[in-house]
Amino acid sequence: MSWRYRFVLLSFCIFFLVIIIRLFYWQSVKAGELSALGESQYGKDVKLRPVRGEIRTSDGFPLASNKLSYLVFANPKEIKDKNIAVSLLSPLLSADPASISALLSLNRYWVALNRSVNNDTKEAIAKLNLAGVGFDDHSVRFYPEASIGAKLLGFVGKDESGEDTGYFGLEGYYDRQLRGKEGIATQIHDALGRPILAKSSNSSGEVNGRNLNLYIDRVLQYVLEDELKAGVEKYGAKGGMAAMLDPKTGGILAMASFPSFDPRSYAEFANEDYKDSFITDTYEPGSTFKPLVMAAAINEGLVKPETRCDTCSGPVSIGGYSIKTWNNKYQPNLTMTDVIVHSDNTGMVYVGKKLGLDKMIKYIDLFGFGRATNIDLQGEVIPSLRPRDSWYPIDLATSSFGQGISVTPIELLSAFATLANKGVRMEPHVVSSVETADGQTLTIPPKVVNKPITEKTAKIMTEILVKAVDKGEANFAKTKGYRFAGKTGTAQIPVAGHYDPTNFIASFIGFAPAQDPKFVMLVIIDRPTSSIYGADTAAPVFFKIVQKALTYYNIAPTETEIKN
């Protein structure tokens, strides 16, 4: 073989080797980069925003759902006659012409004219055929029942990175479950931007938010809010709150507090209005606390309903303080039943003494005071209790009738529900189940917390509380024909080391029907002006709600009025 052939062969070999090396470089070393470059030319990545989960009442109706909203934007450089655009757009966007004009005068390619308009407005603007005006659709929260359950729901706002985030109530507590997971879709398109059916077109990772199914009954929620609002207005109160709980499951059937806010326009309200007072406000429960102290003493076998108080003939002096009854009237030898019926403070001091400090603290703890109830709402406050060595005899005495001890309404309701549930305390819960994006339902089972009192004690206390309703000051408001167990409360408000002499918190707590309770309810009227007493303000609101609730539950009266 001549050297020429060898030279040509070698040249070819080198040439092919260079090609192979170059191909290896493009196909292996630079493969990822080129692939991405290619995809960017023929494919388009689109962020798939998950749909936020719905919050549904027990009948499956969403209190919080989603709807399409439109962002209206404009390219000021494309708009030829700005004056005409301003005159056409400002009435449709309900905006000041000067502000629209200012936006269209900016030296930018994109300005947002309105971030949230409905479909009708969008269609009306689209019909104008204005060059340089466009729309971008997105999902926003929609509240079919308007502001009903606003404080329970909370609201959806933006976090520091501009993403939708739930705040307060259920939106805050279950934000991670509700928000879902963002995904990415890749669509391959041709040179003209039209989509092509291709293997690499796909979407991945997107998971819609989970739906929450609540214990909340829409009818009861509507009735409770309606009557509570009317009560707050009628009694000239600063505010009011109420909640209804199923004692057997701990499920919250209805809950509301006023003043409230509208989640559709939450930004227009003060921060204070967002808080759900039922779980965040602490107060001294007053006489509504007495049944729990009495239950503790009966449970310990220290008193019986017929036990007579031998220190109730006049004011009781303890540590330099004189403890009087609410009406300054005294009845010697009161039975324990009468102590609750007449809400006698001196009688409760007698019970407190019988119980003693250690057992008082033990039962306060067993009933869950000073601990989180673990209700599934954002912002629950846990009032701290006085340490054991800071209790003085006067503290034991005042605590026995519900003063000098701070509780949240949810703590009191949860504890009181124990009397209606054979002595078993359930954890209060708003959500009964969670529905995943693929339709799977994850049930949250009712949770037993503890059993502070026996079933027998619970029955005895129920009978005492039935008498408290039948013979007590709130009897005039009672719905006839039914057996209710309940207690009024008129609590003083501590202000800078003393009690406010003019303002009071009126309340009523009870359950019905007493023989087989369907619900336990606490109604609190904050600083009523027409009357300070729970029997005159909170009790009528309680019974108005109860009357409608019993009709709704189809519960027939069990007692016949007998006239002799």
Partner: protein
């Protein structure tokens, strides 16, 4: 000399055949992009319509709407309830 001519001719026929097949196939799927675009637009429109209808259904089945509609139609809230039940035995009374 004949064999290479047949071989080259056969190759040309095969190339032409495959070219024709590709032209036919490309032609038949050339409009799928447009179709796909239309279908996607249709899906988007249907989703929007569905969302709007869902919103309308929820709004009109809300208690607020029903209560205001009932009031405008002259319905009033019932003030008393009639209960039909067996009378209690005298012994229980």
């Amino acid at each position: 000399m004949k064999k290479p001519v047949i071989f080259i001719g056969l190759n040309i026929i095969i190339v032409i055949t495959f070219s024709l097949i590709q032209v036919v196939a490309a032609n038949s799927i050339s409009t799928t992009g447009i179709e796909l675009n239309k279908i996607q637009q249709q899906i988007a429109e249907l989703k929007k319509d569905n969302a709007a209808l869902h919103e309308q259904v929820l709004s009109q089945s809300s208690f607020n709407y029903i209560a205001s509609k009932a009031a405008s139609m002259g319905f009033d809230e019932s003030v008393s309830t009639v209960v039909i039940s067996s009378p209690l035995p005298i012994a229980v009374r």
